[in-house]
């Protein structure tokens, strides 16, 4: 599949008075395929927005190279085929929804009123055409943002925290819209903290921490390594010793023992072994590895290294 985004050693550094030169984004190798929803995750200050701004050509990389839709970043031809929804977007408050679309449409030379009406209907703002942006709720502002981002029928959408600060209903509306973008064959690049949301909709993710990509890949592969909790009773001491040897955690419970078994170990063989040792199975609970676990595991405690080689 063709790459919608490809970067090689993309770096952005700034001079800091106290810490010398800091690589906000450090040798980023990113690969996003066309037609997928890609989650770009990281804690605050990890370099997510800086990366997006570089990919959009709003700020300039210090080193490395990047290609968006096959063209070098900053190419105006690419801008005709992409869209960007910033975090907590602001639109000119005196304008109404249709006026916002008219304005952003004019930047592409688009003045198709039927298209604007269809977009307003798609984001469920067609009944609020006389309200100005100052009268919009947060969710409505986010939806008009998505509508403006669809004006040019983009192949690639950059969404920075698209569900940040929204209530659960607005969350769901935005999520459904994003999923519909993939159904239409668009590529969606989402930067977000909402890990449960990302887990629900993304095909692949990358986790960036202090400017460096720590993990990148398919969610299904990254989230491998869950565990299965089997509560048993009446098993022998020997059985428990065998279990510990085979990479299972064994904990004593008031009503028996909890066997915490890695997902890759065949749980059926454990169940069979319990039965063979005349024990009984009380419960079997699969504990799937969550994106949150992976995220926390990835981003915790790594010292920041400056471009000069010093540590902070």
């Amino acid at each position: 599949m063709a790459a919608a985004i490809k970067t090689t050693k993309l770096t952005k550094s700034y001079k800091s008075r106290t810490a010398g030169r800091i690589n906000v984004v450090d040798q980023l190798d990113l690969h996003v395929e066309e037609g997928e929803i890609f989650g770009f995750l990281g804690p605050n200050g990890a370099g997510k927005t800086t990366t997006i701004k570089m990919l959009l050509g709003i700020i300039y990389p210090t080193n490395g190279e990047g290609y968006v839709l096959g063209k070098e970043i900053g190419d105006m031809e690419v801008h005709k085929q992409i869209a960007y929804l910033p975090e907590r977007p602001y639109y000119y408050e005196h304008m109404t929804g249709p006026e916002i679309l008219k304005f952003y449409g004019s930047l592409f030379g688009i003045s198709d009123k039927a298209k604007f009406d269809a977009l307003l209907e798609r984001v469920n703002l067609h009944r609020d055409t006389t309200k100005t942006i100052s009268q919009y709720s947060k969710g409505m502002q986010q939806r008009i943002g998505l509508a403006q981002s669809l004006i040019n029928d983009p192949r690639l959408l950059f969404l920075d925290e698209p569900t940040g600060g929204l209530d659960p209903i607005a969350h769901r509306e935005i999520r459904d819209l994003i999923l519909s973008f993939r159904d239409e064959g668009r590529t969606v690049f989402i930067s977000s903290h909402e890990l449960s949301e990302v887990e629900l909709i993304c095909d692949r993710v990358a986790i960036i921490n202090r400017g460096v990509i720590e993990r990148q890949g398919k969610l299904t592969e990254l989230l491998k390594g869950g565990r299965i909790e089997i509560t048993v009773d009446g098993v022998s001491e020997q059985f428990l010793r065998d279990m510990k040897i085979s990479d299972a955690n064994v904990r004593s419970l008031p009503n028996g023992f909890l066997l915490d078994v890695p997902e890759e170990n065949d749980p059926n063989s454990v169940i069979d072994a319990v039965r063979n040792s005349k024990g009984s199975i009380i419960s079997v609970v699969p504990r799937r590895k969550r994106l949150e676990d992976l995220f926390v595991e990835t981003v915790t405690s790594k010292p920041r290294v400056t471009a000069d080689g010093g540590a902070q």
């Binding site: 959009l56 709003i58 700020i59 005709k80 869209a83 977007p89 000119y92 005196h94 930047l107 943002g145």
Partner: protein, 262 residues
């Protein structure tokens, strides 16, 4: 061209709704209405005083509006992140900057047109001025408009790399220097008795600093005994001078803004 005009018209729409600008405009308009009542207090000819006062009000109000309007223009767009949604579209930075500038002078022009119309109305109704007198009176606001376009370009230039507060003092300072001291620096640089160092300094300052005093054409309008020789040629010359400076400042601003991290 379409993106520039769209950005310009949106900028006008926003500017004419900015409360701080409307308050400054309102104060200016109030003074214009009050001015005829104050003219009688002067010992000089009432018409002379009224002309000077009204033109002064228009010039001062316009200068304050021009500075307040333009110093926040680019920083506000960055702070509110509207610039990102615009620059992620097929809009180049120069188009954005020129669009913002044209929007600023468009809004400024509308506000100045309102004040000038009130002035003309007052002279027509209260002073029974005839058409030629009114046309003569209208020359000053037209020249002031070019002056304000020049001032706006100074502020837009600085707004590409300094904070609004610093810009306020820089642009305001340049306006005052260019209005009050340009003739002084010009005289200094041309005076054969001036020391060479002072002469060079005066020449440099006089060349770099836009000569805002070129557009202070109120004296012949206020006092009929003063005249501008070859008036048409003078107006044309200072208009070209203004456009030249505006062009230089915009190109400079574009070059800086193009490299700026936003």
């Amino acid at each position: 061209m379409k993106p520039i005009l769209s950005i310009a018209s949106t900028t006008i729409g926003e500017a004419i709704r900015r409360k701080v600008l409307l308050i400054i405009l309102l104060i200016g308009v109030l003074f214009l209405f009050v001015a005829p009542g104050l003219g009688v207090l002067s010992a000089r000819s009432e018409t002379t005083v009224l002309r000077g006062m009204m033109l002064g009000i228009i010039q001062l109000t316009s200068a304050v509006i021009a500075i307040v309007l333009t110093v926040y223009m680019i920083p506000n767009e960055i702070e509110r992140r509207t610039i990102y949604t615009i620059l992620s579209k097929p809009v180049t930075r120069w188009q954005f900057l020129v669009g913002k500038y044209l929007g600023a002078i468009g809004a400024l022009g509308m506000m100045m047109a309102l004040m000038s119309s009130i002035m003309i109305l007052v002279f027509w109704r209260l002073q029974s001025a005839d058409v030629s007198q009114l046309a003569d009176l209208a020359k000053a606001p037209v020249m002031y408009f070019i002056q304000m376009c020049l001032l706006a370009s100074v502020a837009i230039f600085f707004s590409t790399f300094v904070s609004p507060l610093v810009n306020f003092f820089l642009a305001g300072g340049m306006y005052l220097l260019g209005s009050l001291f340009s003739p002084f620096f010009q005289t200094l640089s041309e005076n054969p008795n001036t020391a060479q160092v002072a002469k060079i300094f005066a020449l440099v300052v006089n060349t770099i600093l836009p000569n805002f005093s070129n557009y202070n054409v109120q004296n012949p309008i206020i006092n009929p005994n003063q005249t501008i020789q070859n008036e048409g040629a003078y107006y044309l010359q200072v208009t070209i001078y203004g456009l030249f400076y505006i062009g230089i400042l915009l190109v400079g601003g574009i070059l800086i803004f193009d490299r700026r991290e936003v």
